[in-house]
Point group: C2
Chain length 156, copies 2
DNA sequence: TTAATCTGGTTTTAAGATGCAACCCTATTC
DNA sequence: GAATAGGGTTGCATCTTAAAACCAGATTAA
């Protein structure tokens, strides 16, 4: 049988994964954030098959994560650019990168040193904060109106 | 051919996606954060096929995201609990949830109201911050030693 | 104590997804 | 006018997935 879809799931995480939760989509978004815009560049940087890239780009455009811009001075040259919705995936990508850097570091390579252009300083680790700006974990969170997260007995 | 794997990619995002980047793994982690621990509970909550769940749980255990704990008073009852590595995916999951809530809201359902246990207040939106704690976007970030992110010409 | 049930898991089967290579069409370059 | 680059589509072999059947060890029910 086919892969399941979650368009209509009542879980927003499932719906999000439906749009960017496959192997390639998030990597395409990542490279788009790096400035990649052209079909061939995505193809070469990612080492992805052309038909798959075609399909993923089309799906990302369809979902409003990318927009296809005709930059053909004469009609057949395109760029794929992030929309605001796509750019809004920034915290997701950064959080994932930091998690990867922390838990699966490259054996002989330093992690990317991302810095803020205004200050020249490295960016902070992405964290979940409470209303006062204090970092919190899974165990500190509950769903309003439901039992505490992760605490059927005792978290994890 | 099979799906590509990125174990050895020099990109930590790719390596991260290799571990939790398929359709089910992050949902399993999410439900684990909700407190789910047992095979049958995962299966019922997610509506996932048993063989796939088996495979995903095994892979998550193998990758150190979950640990399999034998709680069988007599030997054949297990729980799958988040490790610290797994719990550390919290910002990723929350960022993804917030993105989904913002851009793909459920038509007739309010998004989950997650709150901090200490203050009772809703948690903040996950964002990327610079060293001073100010929120920044893709366009504000550059890779130390490389051209500015997203600015081969002008971002997105 | 024997039967029914729960749990966690493997096997089988088919429908889908993926990767690769080959081919196409429209510019542009030489 | 031929070669090349960009952006796709098509076919095919291979791998993954979903669903359901099947299994074996514990536990509970009768």
């Amino acid at each position: 049988m086919a892969r399941k879809r979650f368009d209509d799931s009542n879980c927003s995480v499932a719906r999000a994964l439906n749009q960017v939760g496959d192997w390639w989509s998030l990597l395409i978004v990542l490279h788009a954030m790096y400035g990649t815009r052209r079909f061939v560049d995505f193809q070469q940087e990612l080492g992805i098959a052309k038909n798959i890239l075609c399909d993923r780009l089309a799906r990302l455009v369809e979902n409003g994560v990318l927009k296809k811009v005709d930059v053909g001075e004469h009609g057949s040259r395109f760029e794929y650019r992030l929309t605001e919705k796509g750019r809004d995936l920034f915290p997701v990508v950064i959080a994932l990168r930091q998690w990867g850097d922390k838990w699966n570091p490259a054996p002989d390579e330093a992690p990317l040193d991302l810095r803020d252009r205004a200050t020249g300083q490295p960016i902070q680790t992405v964290e979940v904060q409470n209303a006062e700006g204090k970092p919190i974990t899974v165990r500190d969170v509950f769903v309003s109106g439901e039992p505490t997260l992760g605490s059927k007995k005792d978290p994890a």
